[in-house]
């Protein structure tokens, strides 16, 4: 055994350069892998994690004013399904003003001490102080109105006096549903402050948050509460499932793109290691032959190589893991912030174990595979020619170059590509991964940009939204028709419906100038006005196992048993409810139900429209119930995602470049003897550089030819694969031709650059040193 140990150390030290390069590659791969794991880790179920961390409620009951008594609350809290409760919570529906905006809000009392159930997560600023006149706002409030800590909001007290209150913090509430929002955004105040603003406590609304023993028992609990008294107590309730699916929509773009990145990174990690390790072991085959000749057994030979790679992979993995940990916060912080989760530092037992199992594992497996091949080769052959016999014929391109009178270094460079085809193949795989990494990074950023430029692809076809409360539908429509700057609009009523199997879903019943809006139809066609046709989100089709052309029967009113059958004629990108919605003509349901007047109007504005003018036309008075919101204020911001993808892509490309460098250094190392001989017989340093660069350029070209289409195909499939988990429609990759064309010289440049340093090193090598070796 000691002979084996001696040989391991001798190899590691003697081939110090190669050992360092391999450790470098393993470190780069391990860093990438750590980054990928961290990304997946931070993406994983952000809502569930937040909800758990904040001990979120599963059911939030909003009681009808005046109907509930303290005794009822106690009775609810004592239900066997209830694990814990927030206790009675007070709120008051009001409006706040800032600059020229009037925003309906729900003022909610927040306890000074963090509650046991349903804590708030502070996103910025601080919590409120007891007795201080200050407020917290919800994240939705911040996003819609672009408010920030330090700004002020005004509230009209019940005595008619205006008070100005500073925003001291922005918080995330795990039970506020931003999509199905039947409640306006939340503003949090102390009980003391609410009392000083609105002293009539009998006008305060009551609500209650419940944490359940079994989170799935929401429906059971709701039924029990509804049947507790003759009077209806509950005005409205929030089910954590609904909040969750809204949150998932917010997160799905991030999920799709970042998880695709992570899977690509993992794939690249594996391929990089396998190709580098196999090619180094193959370069050592000659040695293996010699070892066998002097009496090493097959097992001892395997031990020698496995021993070397165990050592190198452990060192490399430790380095890479540390590097990965250091890089991860850069992209991850922005991502987790926008997903409302706390940043999960990448260092934990799981990532440690995964990285240290996977990276050395793959390294050792590839070393084993190659060494096993080596241990079986014929001794004489191994000593004479190494792993693979050089090709017998001169590579046709080299012959062509020679015939055309190209200088010898070019010819030799071309020939080198095919002299050892297997080695070249491994090098090319490596280069191709680099190119694919670039394509992937560029395609991701390009695609996100496209979606940002064209929200219709996300199912967002309008420029602004108007909601009404007291103003009648007819009046609102008349007003909108007269509003300057509004090119077209359509109204929508959101209806709840159930399938015959009891699955509930939301229905968008629409009417108006639909054809003026750039609806994207992914499959089939748009429905005919006035017909019983419908369009479905991909999530709905997947969920119910339907396809375009099928029909679906829905129960619109359970009590009356009102049913209607729709013919699904198309698929559209539905941004809400994970795509599980149906869009139908309002006229097909309005005769069947009582209250179907639209409450929401989607507006298309002319290019030159001025939002402020439109706002003041629609809601001239501060207490108007019509609310105008510009699209920019509600679409989830993709900036952070672009930034994160951009950073991750940069890291990926950086690692690809380092990897290309290492690969060509390795192959220079392997060719050392040949370089020494050729230099002896008179090749100048410049000619050596040309020879290396020719090989690199040719391999680079092959890698580009293979890598660009492969990168595009992979990107598309990976994105759509990830998208299929979210009910999101198809994702169209966009990467403009100009970028692709620009990529070609860039990749070539990188590949030649990668070979340039090793070539220079080889060019100025001490010939005598090389010749003395062997």
């Amino acid at each position: 055994m000691s002979a084996v140990w001696q040989k391991i150390w001798a190899d590691l030290l003697h081939r110090r350069m190669v050992s360092l390069l391999i450790i470098g590659t393993i470190a780069a791969a391990a860093a990438l892998f750590t980054l990928a794991l961290t990304t997946l880790f931070n993406l994983e179920a952000p809502y569930d994690k937040s909800h758990a961390e904040l001990n979120g409620a599963h059911l939030w009951l909003h009681f009808k004013p005046q109907r509930v008594r303290a005794m009822d609350i106690r009775q609810i809290e004592e239900l066997p399904e209830v694990a814990a409760s927030t206790g009675r919570q007070y709120s008051y529906s009001s409006q706040v003003y800032f600059e020229d905006t009037r925003a309906p809000v729900s003022l909610r009392v927040t306890p000074i001490e963090p509650p046991r159930v349903n804590r708030l997560r502070l996103l910025s600023g601080r919590f409120i102080q007891p007795e201080a006149d200050e407020v917290l706002i919800s994240r939705d409030m911040r996003d819609i109105y672009q408010l920030s800590v330090g700004q002020f909001v005004e509230i009209t007290r019940s005595d008619g006096q205006r008070v100005e209150l500073p925003i001291v913090g922005i918080v995330y509430d795990p039970m506020y549903d931003s999509y199905r929002a039947s409640l306006p955004p939340y503003v949090y105040v102390s009980e003391h402050l609410l009392f000083s603003l609105f002293p009539d406590k009998s006008a305060w609304e009551w609500s209650l948050g419940l944490r359940l023993k079994d989170p799935e028992s929401v429906a059971v609990v709701v039924d029990k509460i509804q049947s507790m008294r003759n009077l209806e107590l509950v005005n409205d309730y929030t089910d954590w499932h609904d909040v969750r699916s809204s949150a998932i929509f917010d997160a799905q773009m991030a999920f799709i793109f970042l998880s695709a990145f992570s899977f690509f990174a993992i794939l690249a990690t594996v391929l990089i290691i396998v190709s580098i390790i196999s090619s180094t072991v193959l370069a050592q085959i000659k040695q293996i032959g010699t070892l066998k000749a002097i009496g090493f057994t097959g097992r001892q030979i395997l031990s020698v190589y496995v021993g070397q790679y165990v050592f190198m992979s452990l060192v490399g993995t430790a380095l890479g893991y540390t590097l990965g940990l250091a890089m991860a916060p850069l992209p991850m912080r922005t991502i987790t912030m926008s997903l409302n989760t706390s940043y999960q530092p990448p260092f934990n037992g799981w990532s440690l174990m995964a990285v240290f199992l996977v990276i050395p594992g793959i390294t050792i497996l590839s070393a084993l595979g190659a060494a096993y091949r080596g241990a079986r080769v014929n001794i004489i052959k191994a000593i004479a020619i190494g792993a693979e016999a050089p090709a017998r014929k001169t590579f046709w391109l080299a012959r062509l170059a020679e015939r055309m009178g190209a200088p010898m270094p070019f010819v030799l460079g071309f020939n080198d590509v095919f002299v050892k085809p297997f080695r070249s193949l491994l090098a090319m795989v490596n280069l191709t991964i680099g190119v694919m990494g670039m394509v992937f990074g560029l395609a991701l950023t390009g695609t996100i940009e496209t979606y940002r430029q064209n929200p219709a692809l996300l199912g967002i076809v309008y420029d602004a939204i108007v909601t009404r409360q007291e103003t009648s539908d007819i009046r609102t429509q008349r007003l909108l028709a007269q509003t300057p700057g509004v090119e077209a609009f359509y109204g929508e009523t959101l209806l709840e419906a159930e399938t015959l199997n009891g699955q509930s879903l939301n229905l968008r019943a629409v009417e108006g100038q639909l054809s003026a809006f750039p609806f994207v139809v992914e499959d089939g066609r748009f429905f005919q006005p006035g017909s019983n046709e419908a369009m479905a989100g991909k999530g709905l089709l997947d969920w119910l196992g339907l396809k375009v052309g099928d029909s679906i029967t829905l129960i619109l009113d359970k009590d009356k048993g009102t049913k209607v059958t729709f013919q699904i004629v198309g698929e559209y990108p539905e941004p809400a409810d994970a795509g599980q919605r149906l869009m139908v003509n309002l006229s097909s349901v309005s005769p069947l139900l009582k209250h179907t007047n639209p409450g929401t109007y989607y507006l298309k504005l002319v290019q030159s429209a001025k939002p402020d003018e439109i706002r003041s036309f629609i809601a001239p008075r501060r207490d108007s119930d019509l609310n105008f919101t510009l699209l920019e204020d509600i679409v989830p911001d993709t900036n952070y995602l672009q930034l994160a993808i951009f950073m991750l892509a940069a890291i990926l490309i950086g690692i690809a470049i380092v990897n290309i460098l290492i690969m060509s250094l390795l192959s220079a190392q392997e060719n050392l003897r040949v370089v020494g001989i050729i230099k002896t017989i008179g090749m100048t340093p410049a000619q050596v550089v040309i020879m290396f660069s020719t090989t690199a350029a040719f391999l680079g070209l092959l890698a580009i030819v293979a890598g660009i289409p492969a990168g595009l195909v992979l990107t598309r499939n990976l994105l759509n694969f990830m998208a299929s988990f979210t009910g999101f429609g198809r994702i169209a990759i966009s990467l403009d031709t100009l970028t692709i064309i620009g990529l070609i010289p860039f990749a070539l440049f990188i590949s030649i650059l990668g070979s340039f340093l090793p070539a220079r090193w080889a060019a100025h090598l001490q010939i005598v040193e090389v010749l003395r070796r062997e």
């Binding site: 090709a391 020679e402 270094p409 020494g676 230099k679 017989i681």
Partner: protein
């Protein structure tokens, strides 16, 4: 006869870590054009080091080497490369052929690297040389498919393709049996008789006997020289020197 090689007070010091080792400690010697000189000496005495410096493969620590009108210690790496391929042919103990090129390609390589030659002419010359060395039938093979003696003949053909003014051979027969060794020496002798200057390192008195002059090196110094001499007297001189 003119002096082709003039080596004056040549020193070469190797530095390994903190250990300095003087491989050549001030050698001066002349080689006349058309000479066939053998260098003898114990293992580690500095023979290869001297050959490498004379051939422009390595640089001296001090002293001067002139080959023809080239002063080697003043030349750049590129100038040395051009010097090697146009003026010097090398033959080594371990052949040092380029494995991935055929025999013919190996032989033609120095000429092709130099450029300037007409390709057809190169082809003709290489064919002639291979013919003359008796390995024309192996032209399409690769080095690993040849015997040691055949490989050494390929190396000799490669050394002569550019018609160098100097042939340097470092133990050309060290790796061959005596029959193939003799064949190689016979070939060298023939070239020498046509005017080729040859400097050859050898351990074998039998091989040295083919040379016109024998130089003896000990511990980095030139200690003796013999003009002509048979195997026996050379062997005796070696024993005396010890």
């Amino acid at each position: 006869m003119t002096t082709l090689i003039r080596v004056s007070d040549l020193k070469k010091t190797y530095q390994t870590g903190s250990v300095r080792f003087e491989a050549l400690r001030g050698i001066s010697l002349d080689v006349q054009s058309g000479d066939f000189s053998a260098i003898m000496g114990q293992s580690g005495s500095g023979k290869s080091t001297l050959m490498h410096i004379v051939g422009g493969l390595d640089k001296p620590t001090s002293g001067s080497v002139r080959v023809g009108e080239h002063t080697l210690e003043t030349m750049s790496e590129t100038q040395l490369a051009i010097f090697r391929r146009s003026q010097v042919g090398f033959v080594f103990q371990f052949f040092n052929l380029v494995e991935n090129l055929s025999v013919q390609a190996n032989v033609e390589l120095p000429a092709l690297l130099a450029g300037g030659w007409n390709r057809r002419e190169i082809r003709k010359r290489s064919a002639e040389l291979l013919e003359r060395l008796g390995i024309a039938s192996q032209a399409g093979k690769h080095p690993w498919e040849l015997s040691g003696g055949q490989q050494q003949r390929v190396a000799i053909a490669r050394a002569f393709i550019n018609q160098p003014m100097l042939l340097l051979a470092d133990e050309p027969t060290g790796n061959l049996d005596s029959a193939s060794g003799d064949e190689v020496l016979k070939i060298l002798k023939e070239f020498n008789q046509q005017g080729q200057t040859i400097l050859m390192v050898t351990h074998s008195a039998q091989a040295a006997a083919w040379a016109k002059t024998v130089l003896f090196i000990q511990d980095g110094l030139l200690v003796d020289r013999m003009d002509g001499g048979d195997e026996k007297s050379i062997a005796q001189r070696l024993v005396d020197l010890r």
